[in-house]
């Protein structure tokens, strides 16, 4: 008996989705066992884009290491930097000026909107609709312009530093953000017309990729993917940082636990982000943008942990310090890694076509998973 290459003993087909595949949006490698079109098992293989960021951070000073984190989840670089700044400020007991706090939260929320826009377009593209991608990028472009004007970069931004901001905001900042909000509000209904209300789209999403709240918790899922199952896990509400405790916003929760619920969480979250920005943009206080700190930063001996809510979920930064200028050990708890681990449970028994929809709603960024 010769065994066919690429099949299991039961005669099921094994398919490699990735590392180069249009639906993985990066170098994710999924080994899928298929019975016809039905998925029996999904096994993610990681490591294709591992750059040992955590190890690199151990040889970088506390001022330097946040720059590397922009390359982790490149769609939430401001938020990653925010987390790094927060943990250094926590260790050094630095009080951040109010102006910096406001701008940080505005930038975080702009980043979140930009990330969700990209997710929306890419997910529609996974489902075979190309046009939404361009519509999403139209709005994302104006966020990128704001970012470019603020800190010179459009993707891997480095602006939030320990103690505040790298430099003061551009004089046009408030005006451009307001322009963006009015543009965005005029376009947001198009999203629902083009995708959300589409009958094919709803049939593809509803009842597909179900994960219960218990499973979501036990897999350590976080962010919009977990909130789609009704898990109360928004770090901005549970452990407020920055000035999130001073703004009014709702934690978006959906209870259905399927792909459509995760989709709706992100769509609604974008509207919440816009409302947060609206509350803050006119009230940015005058004053310093950077607290006075020592030239060489040294965290006291001990262990530190902070967490922030990125566009994908909970990003935790854990530092063990020996009192030197560089961290002794650093560990990032990235949201994508835990969210990906739930994919197997979600996908079993569904069709191959649904797998891309599930991966879309998990909003995977591969450099975030591998670091």
């Amino acid at each position: 008996m010769t065994e066919e290459i690429g099949t299991t003993a039961d005669g099921d087909l094994i398919i490699n989705v990735g590392p180069q595949h249009p639906a993985t949006h990066g170098v994710l490698h999924l080994v899928i066992t298929l019975n016809g079109e039905t998925i029996k098992k999904v096994e993610p293989h990681l490591g294709y884009i591992h750059r040992s960021i955590e190890k690199m951070c151990e040889s970088l000073t506390y001022r330097q290491f946040s720059y590397v984190t922009s390359r982790m989840d490149y769609l939430s670089s401001h938020i990653n930097n925010h987390a790094c700044a927060l943990i250094v400020e926590k260790g050094l007991q630095v009080e951040v000026p109010a102006r910096a706090k406001y701008v940080r939260v505005i930038l975080d929320e702009l980043t979140r909107i930009a990330s969700h826009e990209l997710w929306w377009g890419a997910m529609a593209m996974d489902l075979g609709a190309f046009t939404p991608f361009f519509h999403a990028f139209r709005e994302r472009e104006s966020i990128n312009d704001i970012m470019e004007e603020t800190c010179g970069a459009r993707l891997t931004m480095n602006y939030i530093v320990p103690g505040g901001l790298m430099q003061d905001i551009h004089p046009n900042f408030q005006k451009r953000v307001k322009d963006f909000i009015s543009l965005y509000k005029s376009k947001i209904d198009e999203y629902d017309e083009l995708v959300t209300g589409n009958i094919i789209f709803q049939n593809r999403m509803k009842g597909v990729g179900f994960i219960s709240a218990e499973d979501a918790i036990s897999f350590g899922m976080s962010g919009p993917a977990a909130r789609g199952s009704g898990v109360n896990c928004d770090i901005r509400k549970l452990y407020p940082y920055g000035i999130y405790n001073q703004v009014q916003f709702d934690q978006v929760l959906e209870t259905a636990g399927d792909s459509f619920a995760r989709y709706m969480v992100r769509i609604r979250e974008m509207k919440q982000s816009v409302s947060i920005i609206e509350q803050l943009i006119d009230n940015i206080p005058e004053g310093e943008f950077l607290a006075k700190t020592k030239v060489v930063l040294k965290l006291p001996k001990g262990e530190f942990y902070t967490r922030v809510e990125t566009a994908r979920g909970e990003l935790g930064v854990y530092i063990v310090s020996e009192g030197a200028t560089t961290p002794y050990r650093i560990k990032f708890r990235s949201p994508g890694f835990s969210n990906l681990s739930a994919l197997d449970t979600m996908a079993r028994g569904s069709k191959l076509g649904d797998l891309v929809a599930m991966m879309g709603t998990l909003d995977l960024v591969i450099p975030d998973i591998d670091r």
Partner: protein, 358 residues
């Protein structure tokens, strides 16, 4: 008047005077063949460019606008690129079938052109069973896709081919039923007679509800049959990379690509012929002056106008809708479209027997 029948009959007379009848026939066949290949290539180029411009227009961007005036030479440049590209055959592939499959796709597309009436008296083959011929020949298309998918020795290709097989075989049924509706109304399988029966009004207007229902079903079914989005499961870029033509490159890929566009053109031409009167001008009852003005528009413009309208419709679908899942696709056909089109055919037959259509 410069009508195609005058031109063709003068060529016919001249050839018969100059050569023996056998040679005259052979030369006529060659001329027709060259015309078809010319039309084929031109249509391919025009449709690819049109698709890209329509897509760009829907996606708030400009589309190709660099090569030639307003980007008109873009598809010619693309063809040149594909011509000089290496046509790779994978190691594990069945070499003969792998290389043969694209030619079947092309052959089917070319064969389908034969009975279509492009303008008044401009038809390559006035076949008395034109409709049957089209339905029969278009089913051969699935063989080329299955062959390509199986011979590639690639799992994605195989899955794409299997999906495509299930899909085309299913949707052929409702496409056939919706075509039959018109056949029942006209009582003829001949394209020319079907067009002539629409002198006093197109079937979509004359045939009441059944004609409209079958038109809608026809458009859905042929979109699926030509593997166009939202029914492009055989290719399904985000799931199967490129489906059945994953392993194809260069000109072999281009043949599939071209065949797809030609098929779109053909099904739209059939749709225009059956439901929208082919090359018949648009006429309203007793409005003599209006009807007369409409008659002045050449019949080829009527035909291509209607066909390109339907092509635009199908492109519009492609750039608006997400893709269906395979089980939803088959559900749509077997649970909805097929029963509806069967009932619709009964209704149409009743109408035709009672003579209730105009």
């Amino acid at each position: 008047m410069w009508s195609f029948s005058n031109i063709s009959s003068s060529i016919h007379h001249w050839l018969n005077e100059s050569f023996s009848p056998t040679w005259a026939m052979i030369i006529e066949m060659v001329i027709a063949g060259v015309c078809i290949i010319g039309l084929f290539a031109t249509l391919g180029l025009v449709l690819v460019l049109m698709e890209r411009r329509v897509a760009a227009w829907m996606q708030i961007r400009l589309g190709p606008n660099r090569v030639g005036p307003k980007g008109l030479l873009q598809s010619a440049a693309d063809t040149l690129k594909l011509l000089v590209k290496e046509g790779l055959t994978p190691n594990g592939a069945d070499k003969f079938l792998f290389n043969f499959a694209p030619f079947i796709a092309m052959m089917v597309a070319m064969l389908l052109m034969a009975p279509i009436a492009f303008a008044k008296d401009f038809q390559l083959w006035d076949l008395n069973i034109g409709v049957l011929y089209i339905s029969a020949v278009s089913s051969i298309m699935v063989i080329s896709i299955l062959m390509a998918g199986w011979a590639s020795n690639n799992k994605y290709s195989l899955m794409g081919a299997m999906r495509s097989g299930a899909q085309i075989v299913s949707y052929e049924l409702s496409a056939g039923f919706s075509i039959l509706t018109i056949v029942v109304f006209t009582g003829s399988l001949n394209f020319n007679e079907i067009i002539l029966s629409q002198t006093n009004g197109w079937w979509i207007f004359k045939g009441h509800l059944p004609a409209i229902i079958s038109f809608v079903i026809f458009i859905i079914a042929v979109t699926a049959e030509t593997n166009r989005a939202p029914f492009d499961l055989a290719e399904a870029e985000s799931e199967l990379t490129a489906g059945f033509h994953t392993e194809y490159s260069g000109m072999k890929f281009a043949l599939f690509f071209l065949a797809e566009y030609i098929n779109v053109f053909i099904v739209c031409a059939i749709g225009a012929t059956l439901f929208l009167g082919g090359w018949m001008p648009f006429q309203i009852g007793n409005w003599q002056a209006f009807n007369h003005a409409m008659d002045y528009i050449p019949s080829s413009i009527w035909f291509f106008g209607k066909t390109f309208f339907l092509i635009f419709l199908i492109m519009w679908f492609r750039w608006t809708f997400p893709r269906l899942r395979i089980d939803q696709l088959l559900n749509l056909e077997w649970k909805y479209l097929l029963p509806i089109s069967m009932l619709n055919l009964l209704l149409a037959t009743a109408l035709a027997i009672l003579g209730w259509h105009f």
